[in-house]
Subunit: 345 residues, 2 copies
Amino acid sequence: MEPKPRITIKDVARAAGVSTQTVSRVLNERPDVSSETRLRVQQVIAELGYSPNVIARNLSRGRSNTLGVIGYGLVYFGSSGVIAGIESKANELGYSLTLSLIDQVEPTRVDRILYDFLSRRVEGIIWAVPGNTNAINWLTDKFSDVHTPIISINMGHDGLDHVVALDNRLGGRLATEHLLQAGYQCIGIITGPRHWWEAKERLMGWQETIEEAGGYSDIDRLIVEGDWNAPSGDVGLHSLLDQNPEIDAVFVSNDQMALGSLQAARRLGLKVPEDLGIVGFDDIPEAAYFYPSLTTVRQNTQKLGALAVHQLHALIQVEHRGKAPDSEIAWVKPRLIVRKSSVRK
Amino acid sequence: MEPKPRITIKDVARAAGVSTQTVSRVLNERPDVSSETRLRVQQVIAELGYSPNVIARNLSRGRSNTLGVIGYGLVYFGSSGVIAGIESKANELGYSLTLSLIDQVEPTRVDRILYDFLSRRVEGIIWAVPGNTNAINWLTDKFSDVHTPIISINMGHDGLDHVVALDNRLGGRLATEHLLQAGYQCIGIITGPRHWWEAKERLMGWQETIEEAGGYSDIDRLIVEGDWNAPSGDVGLHSLLDQNPEIDAVFVSNDQMALGSLQAARRLGLKVPEDLGIVGFDDIPEAAYFYPSLTTVRQNTQKLGALAVHQLHALIQVEHRGKAPDSEIAWVKPRLIVRKSSVRK
DNA sequence: CTGTTAGCGCATTCAA
DNA sequence: TTGAATGCGCTAACAG
């Protein structure tokens, strides 16, 4: 075992017979070095296996070159896609990532993470925790205390300055309009938890579309709340049909619950799509292989993540130049994927 | 907009009327400070909203307190679970994470990431990219060049020093033994890509079990290779049954492909589990809601990630004390989840 | 084109 | 219990 006296810029300078400055210049690819010395320095670097100490560099530059990401820990479709999108774009722009995961918005924990991020002097923060609108006021306050650019993914823009979001409402509309066009008459909905922003928006999309088409009397009876998981889609469909036998189609607010609904329909002896049309949301990889294959609203989560980084980068740049960034919301459009669960032959 | 002259330890020292070291002592919760001054300093810190600069601290201490994680970018079941496990344990042990994602083992990219990690002086590295055994020699060499502890998740231990892995072979055994006990006579297998370590191991588990039970003639004909995705499970089952009509059960090496196989069985008019028994692998959340619900081998991916951090932490400690770490492999046990797809009534 | 002098913000000797 | 001096490894002015 070798001891571990890390090679520093000084060692390189000495070995190359130049000053540390010159080495630094070579490292930073600056033009004001003769190609001769540049080459020599590069050789020495290679020989010594030197790699610059980013920590020292960052301290010196007063920049961390790092983005802080707060993601959603529970396995929920999309969360990993968003992270992947973030990582990819961050990488492209030369940022490093520091990642924290949470399962719920727990003030103490969030405080700790934010404090940690600030201590690390991250240059920007991405809030990629889906939808709990209960916490939004608290969050908004928190965020405004933090003098570092923050982008939120998929939250309503009430109070939050910078948001990148999937247009969930549009998604709800796409799903509902499609069912209408497919000839279904009475369309119910199984929503996600009502305090989730995504769930609300999808519901709104459904409701608006229904109303524009003439509406139903007492529309609330056609709404059932699920918890995003398959069992609740199963139970949900049961209770929905139990109370509204006239229902012939359902917009289920995510694919997992739609899977549960498919199950319930089977048990009830209803054929999909003949007796009952079903449209989901997300387009998880399995959806194409459900039985019958599931019509659903696809969201491009990677794009969402990448866009967030893009916007954040802009904010960071702007901040360095002192301009006050405008508040805004960037939308990503969902797309309807038509399969068999909603098309009568 | 306030300018942004970050508050430093000096500001705090000045405001509290003490020296910077005293502040430093308070920050590091060291005992040799009178509770009087400690309190005063803490107050000033709170008032000024000071947070220590981790970059400077790290430079000074010569430690980064950071773990580098190389994960799998493609959405593949388990990868996000592993990351979540890593994050949770790292958090518990006080490490920060820096994350990079790759879709395949591309030398240039891996080199860049490793170089970046070294530059950031990460204290340990976790390789959480599943199974491409083609790259293993190259990787082994790479890793041995890096003078930083590295833990690999889910790779064979050929050449790699420190590995945390799910016992995939045991998983294959569990699945196969279960089918045998359930009374199935001729059990085929749809594997993952053959160059994936996980795929190989699951196959081995199947094969060993079959052989111990007496074996089949020309066992290779009962093996079909898939690509982890549902369509390949569909196609795979078709060709398997096409060539071996006597097959009455299949061990499908992941749940996605099993979903495809379920589909194929349906199309072929085969009832599951009566005519055909099916066991999957992974236990994705949807598996319980497939039709019929899928018997499968559950892997605890979070545990895998957490264990990796645990081991890595130990390596790091050891390294600081100069002891040479032993090479070893830590196994996580899978568990069979019996549902309807493999149990004849 | 290159070297010298400072200093980034903190922690670690040592004295006092 | 506290403070002064010094250095972590690097980059940013400035000279030359």
